[in-house]
Symmetry: C2
Subunit: 188 residues, 2 copies
C-alpha cells in the first residue's frame, strides 16, 4: 500500500502514444495534463534513466552529431505490459492543495478587501486557463467529428474546462457574498 511516485507511469503513458525526448515529455505534461498533474525536469530525467535500466524504454535515436543534443525514447513491450498493469490498479492519489481556499477560510483573521483581492486575481488567472482549455476541448471535439478519435483526451480536457468554469463561478459568487455581507453592510 505504499504510495510510490507516479512519474514513471506518466512517462510510460506518454511514450505509448508517441516517442519523445525528456524535454518533450515535460512540455506535453504542461500542455495536456497540467489541469490535474505536474512533473519537473528533476524527476523526468532520472526516471527516464531508471526506466531504460529496467528495460521499459529504449533510446530510439541519439542526435548528437554536431547538431543539438537530443535523446528520443521509445516504449518497449515490457514497458507496455508494466503500464497496462498499473492502469488496472486502484486509484491511490487524489490530492489537491489550493492556497486560495485556505486564505478564504481564514477571512475573519483579515479584512474582507484582502480576500476580495485574492479572488479577483484568481479570477483573472483562471479566465485565461479556462479560455485555453475551451479552445483545446473544441479542437479535440472537432477532430472526432472528422474521424480522428481522441476521446480520452477530449474527456480529460472537458474535466479541466469544467473545473475552471466551476471555479470561476464560485469565485464570482463568493465575491458577491463577501461584498454584500461584509463590505456594503459595514454601516449596520
Amino acid at each position: 500500500m505504499r504510495k510510490g511516485s507516479k512519474t514513471k507511469y506518466l512517462v510510460l503513458g506518454i511514450l505509448d502514444k508517441d516517442s519523445q525526448t525528456g524535454y518533450g515529455i515535460k512540455k506535453l505534461i504542461e500542455r495536456e495534463h497540467a489541469h490535474f498533474w505536474q512533473e519537473s525536469f528533476g524527476q523526468i530525467y532520472p526516471t527516464l534513466k531508471k526506466l531504460e535500466e529496467d528495460g521499459f524504454i529504449v533510446k530510439l535515436e541519439e542526435d548528437n552529431t554536431g547538431g543539438r543534443k537530443q535523446i528520443i525514447y521509445s516504449i518497449t513491450d515490457a514497458g507496455r505490459v508494466h503500464l497496462k498493469q498499473w492502469l488496472i490498479e486502484d486509484i491511490e492519489v487524489e490530492r489537491l492543495r489550493y492556497e486560495l481556499f485556505v486564505k478564504v477560510a481564514f477571512g475573519d483573521s483579515t479584512e474582507p478587501e484582502v480576500i476580495v483581492k485574492h479572488l479577483d486575481e484568481f479570477i483573472s488567472r483562471t479566465e485565461k486557463k479556462s479560455k485555453h482549455a475551451k479552445e483545446a476541448h473544441e479542437h479535440l471535439k472537432q477532430l472526432y467529428s472528422h474521424g480522428d478519435d481522441h476521446t480520452y483526451n477530449e474527456i480529460t480536457s472537458l474535466g479541466g474546462l469544467r473545473f475552471y468554469e466551476m471555479m470561476l463561478k464560485w469565485a464570482r459568487d463568493s465575491k458577491d457574498i463577501i461584498q454584500e455581507r461584509k463590505i456594503n453592510n459595514k454601516n449596520k
Copy 2:
C-alpha cells in the same frame, strides 16, 4: 520566491479561531479543509514546537495530571501579526494531482472497461463526499440565517460542494461517452 511549507499558517489560522490541541487541529483540517488541503501528524507536531519557539503560539493548558495527556495551544499577538502578514501575500500554491485523470487520459493503452470501472469507483467515492459537503454547507447557511456568521466557512464549503458535484457530473458524462463510442459501437 521560495515556496515554503504552509503548515504553520494552517495551524495559526485555526488557532486564531479557537485554541486547540495538535490532534484537534488535525481533525479540524480533516473535517473542514479536506476538500482542498491536507496535513499529517508528522508535520503538525513539529510545526507546533517550532511555532512555540518562535513565540507565535503558547501552551495554554497542559493536562497531564493523572488524566489523558493533552496540550492546548493558543495564538499570541505575534502569531496573529504573522498570520495577517501571510494572508496579504500573493497566492503561490495551486496544485492538484488526480490519478484518475491520468488513467483516463491513457485510456487507449488499455480496455475501455478498465476506465469505466475507475469512473464507477470514483462516482461512488465522490457521492459520499458530495453528500457530506452538502450537509455541512446547509448547516453553515442555516447558522447564518440565525445570526451566527460563518460566511468564510460557508464559502469554502460551497467550493467543496460544487467541486464534488462537477466531478460527479463529469464522471457520469465521461462514462456515457466511453460507452457510446467505445463499447456499444464495437461492432462497427
